[in-house]
């Protein structure tokens, strides 16, 4: 354990509700009859389709290949035939192209990758290529291609690798369970990432509400010179910039990236995927997600293949005991509300959350009373109240001057606002309009 972590300014303390699923071991989901794999699961260019309707695929067969540097390939979650290449509801509510695979029940592997057992002496470029070929993206939520994160430009010196085990989002316990049950893979994946970056060490940051995970990782971390840092409980502790500040004391300037202050941050689930891709040669076709919420009969943590429909996920968890008012993919702070049960699990789906009718209420947005609570809690130290007024008046130029582009959309301001103003949505709108304006100019 290194020195005392710093506390970032701002943040909120929502009820974490993690007790619903924190003690439930990860369960393997049974094989389903069909999977609908959404084509575009990463930030950046969508991959290019290489299969067609009627093709036979095996588990791990390439479905789509990377179409550029910031792009990752997609693999089949099980063996079977391609039933259709059509549209399915996407996580943002708009239909997106998806590949439907009818499973043949054999679940036979096609092993496309040779395990790299001697990774300690392997060429970093080869390891990086393996991570790209395995289709690994940031599994914490953003879906940013991992090999890009591990390829800092030559003029940037990276001196710290941080593993994000904060899991500050309420309800979610998938990373917590992974750290408990797969601690060896976590440190292995961390060591491989460090090798790629040319580092000898790494730090794992874990919020102190998970003492069992801290203890477990400390017991195995010494092997690869990895340290565990406990962090104060404060949402959004797991946000990249806040985590870097807590552990290193460095602040990432607005408009810059973590690599500009010499840091790379990786999610727990992502490094496990890295370990599996390198040491076992497995592509990224499944992930652990938390299925939880008051209406869920049997909340827990499940190992789900990508392309599993949410309706089936809820069946696995025993169905629902009461009519839910809301379905979210992800946690309650940053998750996206869904209007269909046909939406499927993606590489970055960290949880499926149901909220009961008595846990939410319909609010009307009232005028700002200038109480300043949002300003106090904003972890990026921008002025949510003022920016939201600029956006309401369609003055996106003011919003830009007030640094709306720095907003990390953590939702803390919307959470504390006594006038129930949809602040986060205003900022999303402003960012889209400002980016559209920039595109027009260029």
């Amino acid at each position: 354990m290194s020195d005392k972590p710093r506390k970032f300014k701002g943040g909120v303390h929502p009820n974490d509700s993690k007790a619903l699923s924190a003690s439930k071991p990860i369960q393997q989901a049974p094989l389903l009859e069909s999977y609908k794999v959404i084509m575009h699961q990463n930030i950046g260019a969508p991959p290019e389709l290489v299969v067609k309707k009627g093709d036979t695929v095996k588990k791990g067969t390439l479905l789509a290949k990377a179409s550029g540097f910031v792009s990752v390939p997609l693999h089949a979650p099980t063996s079977g035939t391609i039933k259709s290449i059509d549209k399915c509801p996407g996580p943002t509510g708009i239909s997106v192209p998806a590949i439907e695979i009818a499973a043949d029940g054999e679940d036979a592997w096609e092993s496309p990758f040779e395990p790299i057992a001697d990774w300690m002496n392997a060429d970093p470029a080869g390891l990086r290529q393996r991570i790209c070929d395995a289709g690994i993206v940031g599994m914490g939520g953003a879906g940013f291609p991992t090999h890009v994160k591990l390829s800092p430009p030559e003029d940037k010196t990276i001196d710290t690798l941080i593993l994000n085990g904060a899991e500050c989002e309420p309800y979610l316990t998938a990373d917590h369970r992974l750290m408990l049950e797969h601690a060896e893979e976590v440190v292995l994946g961390a060591a491989i990432s460090a090798r790629i970056l040319g580092l000898k060490s790494a730090v794992i940051g874990i919020e102190e509400n998970k003492p069992d995970a801290i203890e477990k990782l400390e017991s195995v971390a010494g092997k690869y010179n990895i340290t565990v840092q406990s962090l104060p409980v404060n949402y959004p502790q797991g946000a990249e910039r806040q985590l870097i500040y807590a552990i290193t004391g460095r602040e990432v300037p607005i408009g810059k990236l973590p690599m500009d202050v010499g840091c790379v941050v990786q999610n727990i689930a992502t490094v496990i995927a890295i370990a599996e891709a390198v040491v076992k040669g497995l592509p990224s076709i499944e992930r652990v997600a938390t299925v939880t919420g008051k209406p869920v009969v049997n909340p827990g943590n499940w190992r789900l293949r990508i392309g599993t429909p949410v309706a089936k996920v809820l069946e696995l968890a025993g169905g629902i005991s009461e009519q839910p008012a809301k379905l979210l993919l992800g946690g309650p702070m940053m998750g996206i509300a869904q209007s269909s049960l046909d939406v499927t699990v993606m590489k970055n789906t960290s949880g499926v959350l149901l909220i009961a009718a008595d846990e939410v209420s319909l609010y009307t947005s009232e005028p700002c009373i200038r109480c300043g609570r949002c300003v106090d809690c904003c972890p990026m130290q921008i002025l949510p109240a003022t920016i939201s007024q600029a956006v309401e008046n369609k003055r996106f130029d003011w919003a830009e001057k007030l640094n709306v582009m720095a907003c990390i959309e953590c939702g803390s301001c919307s959470y504390v606002c006594p006038s129930h103003r949809p602040l986060n949505q205003h900022f999303k709108r402003a960012k889209v309009e400002i980016q559209a304006g920039l595109r027009k100019k260029s």
Binding site: K87, G93, Q338, S339, Q425, H426, K428, R429, V432
Partner: protein, 275 residues
Amino acid sequence: MSIAWIAIISTGVIGIVLGVVIGIVAKVFAVEIDERIEKVEELLPGANCGGCGYAGCADFAKAVVAEKATPGQCPVCAPVDITNIADYLGIVAEEKEKRVAVVRCSGDASHTERSLYNGIRDCRSAVLVAGGAKGCDHGCIGFGSCAEACPFGAIEIRDALAVVHPDLCVGCENCVATCPKNLIIMVPASIETHVYCNSPEKGAAKRTYCKTACIACRKCVKVSEEGQMEVDGFLVRTNYENPPPPEVVEAAACPTTALRNASLHAAGAYEGVSK
């Protein structure tokens, strides 16, 4: 008493002196204004809608007098106003065709609603959060960003659907860019018949969430002359180069009422017809 007189007289003298100075300055530094600009501005509608591409009517009047623009570029002016301006300036007014906006969607809330949306009531904000409350990815969101942008009150939001009143629409195009789904197009006002659907999805898929979608059954193609209605995948569109007569709507008896006449659509004649 005398103090009061001194004050009155001295301020009076100062006033007269300053008045003379202002008078001289006004003569010496007078800015010459082309009186024609003022006259043209008077003849323009004064709505400052920006439809001509200039920053309001005064700016447009300046451009017209400088012969950088023609009076016909004002989308709001009636033909008689344009002739008046042209006659005043002694130029020939070119013929122009009035254009109106069409919102290519007929899916109101009762036909398409799928979920509760409690966010910002603005189309461009709603589209970022699950695409709003309606089931169609391509249809009108219905929070009226276009209606808000219309300086002439020509767009009505009726049961979460934007409906253009062609008689009020002057064709300023202010609404076109506000629609996040790019549903609004400008068409010649003389063309009445439009397909009120813009979804390229398959007909069966569209029908699951919208009762008034175009399912490309081609009934309208059959009753119209060749080339008047164009089939584009799973969607039929009016060919605005060679438009069908308004009678096509009745003859085709569109089973979903996606094919409509603009003025009847504005009057609400198609509500509840589709099953």
